[in-house]
Structure formats: structure tokens, C-alpha cells
Symmetry: C2
Subunit: 389 residues, 2 copies
Amino acid sequence: MTRARRMADIEPFHVMALLARARELEARGMSIIHMEIGEPDFISPGPVIEAGHEALRAGAMHYTPASGLPRLREAISGFYRDRYGVQVDAGRIIVTPGASAALQLVMAVLVDPGRQVLMADPGYPCNRNFVRLVEGIPVGIPVDATSSYQITPAQARDYWTDEVVAMIVASPSNPTGTLLDSRQLAALYTVANEHAGHLIVDEIYHGLTYGVAAHSALEVSSRIFVINSFSKYFGMTGWRLGWVVAPEDFVEDLDKLAQNLFLSAPTLSQHAALAAFHPDTLSILEERRDEFRARRDFLLPALRETGFRIPVTPQGAFYLYADCSRFTGDSYRFALNLLEDAGVAITPGIDFGSNRPESHVRFAYTTSMENLREGVNRLRRCIDPVRTC
Amino acid sequence: MTRARRMADIEPFHVMALLARARELEARGMSIIHMEIGEPDFISPGPVIEAGHEALRAGAMHYTPASGLPRLREAISGFYRDRYGVQVDAGRIIVTPGASAALQLVMAVLVDPGRQVLMADPGYPCNRNFVRLVEGIPVGIPVDATSSYQITPAQARDYWTDEVVAMIVASPSNPTGTLLDSRQLAALYTVANEHAGHLIVDEIYHGLTYGVAAHSALEVSSRIFVINSFSKYFGMTGWRLGWVVAPEDFVEDLDKLAQNLFLSAPTLSQHAALAAFHPDTLSILEERRDEFRARRDFLLPALRETGFRIPVTPQGAFYLYADCSRFTGDSYRFALNLLEDAGVAITPGIDFGSNRPESHVRFAYTTSMENLREGVNRLRRCIDPVRTC
């Protein structure tokens, strides 16, 4: 039976096959250390859960406006003021069913068929598919350690032809955990501006930075599209709630598209998220940030000592993007073998693009220090420069 | 600044402007009877809310598999067995963030740029935009009372050119509340089959039928795409949860697209929905169905007596699609005047297509009998064949 051609270009997450295999092995009683999972292992902070109960008791379960509860949009605006010292009108904030929906809305509003969107390779795998969905062309720019895996202004200029309408960057980045500072963001925005194009900045790992305060692209310009989420820093993945801050003249289009595509974001999640900015919540989140930092500070040197090359110390997110070419020329097979032989699950490079994926794997430190220690021990027992497992 | 051309074709819900005006009037102390709202006025059934509390207590707030909790897919499969006597493998059921997401997935998987999808006009307004999003062409087939506002097999054959890949029908339909019986569904499926195309059936108002049991298209063929939702019958709108049942060879594509576009449906909602099929829940839902039926049985003759033409008695959903040409040649202006002068909010025909929208309005009986009575009284005072308000 016929199906759309785009389906041939859209790949599943390859880690899903690994995950399915991990579940099989676990069902047989094998212990698996999960270092492939892209979400915090913590449950949502207590005040968020309590706000969820409260919303259930209050019967808050009908549709909200497509752009979100006005009170939540105001609260997000307040967060930008308090944390970044930047004034963001609540009317420019559109609450979405996860950052996924925010990314989709922005691509759908900006990208005509055949037009290109620039993005780092390696990068978040769904971005290219949001572009492909609307018949645009995702263009991966190969990035490496020399630029902390971020697109440089020089690269952006090189790639920015007449076909390009936008560039998306992420700070901190998935899978590399690296940041863009304000100067770099401003320089990239300048390039977009020179071409009358758009800059989209994915800030969904904001808050999860270690030893450095991430700057929002909104400090650079109110003309930048900024994507954020309650999933990672706020620990609310399964609630499916994110937002986009848009230039004022795009709000109406984003709103009407949100009406049509999503009707509204989950209502309970929106009510629960009102508690996300409470001082008690933020103090819990800061403790968790410290925990993530301790995990990074353990895992990074441990992996380096084991023989993985991680040339840039990531300052954010909860990922380490590691060159495994000392052990393998086929990182997918390598990840599969690690799973079968060592009981350690990691994500193969192929999920993040086509820039030397066979030489890279991603480790997520979204599991306890105890598990990370055990995972590293297993890696060491299994990885032997002579007999690679 | 540049934006995608599709945005010029995608319209906002026109009722939103009316709703905004209604809120203004309410803020000034005016009483408004809301007969424009497309969701049940009831909160979710008690067992569903209790399951939500339970999931919060259990910390069920991480991502689920993209296709949904296996237990929920099994429960939906069981519902098809119990209610329709049809065997649907749980593996063919993909749980989505609302039926909205299900509709989007199906259109994205089936429709190439420039290819057409047939749909009834009047019909659910978002359908044409799901098609437009992926650069397909929605083709509205004008329907009227002679076919109970449903596409006939003869019409489907007339419109089914080489450019057509699929047809979507809804039973019960929004805005008309009319049904397709099994024989009609089979006939439409035959037409789709003759052209090696697809039939998509929107069953989101199933359960809300009065004096007749709706048949699922899955009783006709396992090759039909069926969309359903926990929103309407199950009273879970704001939880944003729906599903699609797909032919087996499309499941993999739908799953990989769901991974990329949505990651997963809201986790709490999925856990809460496990209680939706409990006998206690179903008995609450049956009482509510009786209440909706009583409302229809009051409102339908009352509107007819007032001078609205409603030639077909709708057997499902909670809408009455009324010809208002006796009062106006501009149903949008008419709706606005009713709001300002009578304090009654209804939806203008323009939200449902371009087939004589200026002569039609939609009434929703999603408010109490008391409110409906008051609404009708206000209409009667205001609508005067001599001085139309």
C-alpha cells in the first residue's frame, strides 16, 4: 500500500532496538546498567507532584487555551526576569505539549518545501525530522571538538545559501553537553540576520550546567526563537510540557497552528508546572544539579581512563559524547556487544547524525552514582585493547 | 520576516475570536450561555481521577514507549473485543497525545506533497490543516442533509482521481452529529480499495450515540485506519490522550514518527486511562450519555420551533448543525450579535468549511439542561423574524 516518501527518510531511534534487547535480557534476569536514557532518573519535585494532586482535586482537566494557561505564561515570563534578568512579554510565550511540539510548530511556521535548515551534526536526532515532515531539507554541519561541537559563525556563513531559512543550535547540546556563550550566540544571530533568516535556540537543558551559568539567547535578541521545556531541569519528562518564546509577529501564526495541531497542552501538567518555579522546587532542583555535576565529575575521568576520547569537558546536560574508535570501527555493534557481554546500555552515534557516528557513543549519567561505578567497572572488565568485547 | 506559505492557508478557529469577546463580556458581569464548547462539561469520572492520584503517588511520570504503555494498548484491545466483538491486536494500537496527534501521524505517513485527501464539508476543521501541514491538498466534498451530511460512495467515486491517496470520514460527525452505519462504511472502504487508497475513520465521538449503537470501522476491515480518543465519551479532554488503530504494515512507520514528533503521550494520562474501561467508570459514562441524550431531545425541537432548520436528527456527538438562513445571510455576524445581544455563544459555520457556512451555525449541548433552557429563552427573545438581532 502507498505511503508518503518522507517515511523512507525518517529513521527510528536506533537505541530503541538496543533498549528492546535490554528489556529482553532483563526479563531473563540479567542486570543492565542503563546509561542510554535521556531523562533524569529522579521523579518530579514534591511541590510539582502536590500541585498535580491539587489540580486533580480541583477538577482542572478541561482544555486550556491553545497557547497555555495565562498564569503559566506569566510564571515563565517571571522566570526569565528572575533568572536571566531579561524582560519577556508573556504574550510571546506559547506553552506546548513538550519541547517536541514547540520545535514542530517553529519548523512548520518557518520552512517551505525545499528550503533548508542548518543544524549541527552530531545533534538532536528529531530536528532533521521536524524539517523533513514539512518537506524542508535539514542540512547537517559537521562539528567537532575544535569548536566544542557547536556551529561556528564562519561555518554558518559558508553554509547559508539562498535556500536556507533558519539555523537551529542547542546550548547545552545533546549529545555533546557543550554550551554557546552570549558572544557566540550573538555572532550566530548576526549571520542569520545578514541573510534575513531565523535563529532557533534549543535551551531545554538550561539549568543543568556545571560551574557556569548558561545565558539565554533572549538576552541577545527578542527576534530569536527560543525553545525550552519542563522535562530536563524541572524533572517533568512524562508530563509533556515545554514552551517556545517567539518574536512578537510570529505569535499569531504559532497560536493558530497550535490550535489546529494540538488543541492545547495537557491541563494537569500546566497546573503542576505552576509549582515548578516555587523556591522550594528550585532548591530541590539545585540539589539535583549538584548530583548531576558529581556524576559528571566521576564519569568523565573514568571513561577517559578507560580509553574513550572525550576531548571537550561538557559543561551541561547529562551526556558525554565519547570517541570509541580505539575500540571499534562500528559503534552500533560495539554498543550491542557492551549490552550483551557487559550489561551496559549506551546510545550509538548513529542516532545523532552522519558525522563519524561509527566512532562515537553517548553516555547518559541519568542513573545513580552507584550504578555509574558499577557500569564503569563492567566496561573496564569488558573492554580490553587486545580483545574488544 | 519570511515564513512558510502554508501559514496563509491555515485558519485559526474563528470561534476563538467570539470566545475572547465572550470572556470580555463576562468580565464586565454579563451572563453568557456557552453553547460553542466542544468538550463535555463534566469532569473526568471518579475512577479516572483516582487513578491519576495513584499514578502521582507511584511516581509514574517518566517517558513511556512512544506507542504507549503496553497495558493500556492491551486495555484498548480488550475494549474493542468487549464493546464491538472485534479482535484488534494490541500491537496495532498506538496511543497518542490526543486524537490530534493520531490524525497528524496518519496524514504524515500517507500523504505526499500535492496528493489529495477527501473529506466532508462541513467537517472537523483541523483535518484540512493536518493535510496542508505536510503539503498535501485537502479536498472538501460538499455534503448536505440528503446524505445525512456524510460522503456517499457515489461522491467518493466522483472525486477519487489519481491524485487522491485517502479519504477521511467521521462517525459520529462534528459538526453534524450524524453516523455512518456498517453498510455505508463498507461501501466507502470498497471505493478506497478500488483505487488502492486508504480510508481513515474518525470515531472520537463513539460512545456518545443515542438510540443506536455505533459500529466501528474495524468491524468492516483491519485495513482501515481508525482514530479514537479518551476526550469525549470518556470525558478526558485536557488529559490529551487518544489512539490510532492501523493496518499492521503501517505500525512501524507510525511508531517511528511518534518517537520523533511526540516522544510519548502524557504518562499520567495513560495511567489514568487504565481506569477508563473499569465497569464503575463505564456506568458513570452511560449515565452521562443519558444526560446528553436528554439535552439533545430538549434542544433539537426547541431550536426547530425557534426557526432553525435541522433537517436530520443527529444520533451522536453533542452538536446540532443548524441552518440559520431564515435569520441571516451572515452566520458569523449572526453569532456575534447573539453573543452581544442575547448572551448566547455558538460557533459560526465558517469553522467547518466552505460549503454554505454563512447559512449555518453549530450548537453544542455541552452545558446543563438549565443553561440550555435559558439559552433557548434568550434566543427566542432575541430572534424575531421581523427584527433579527
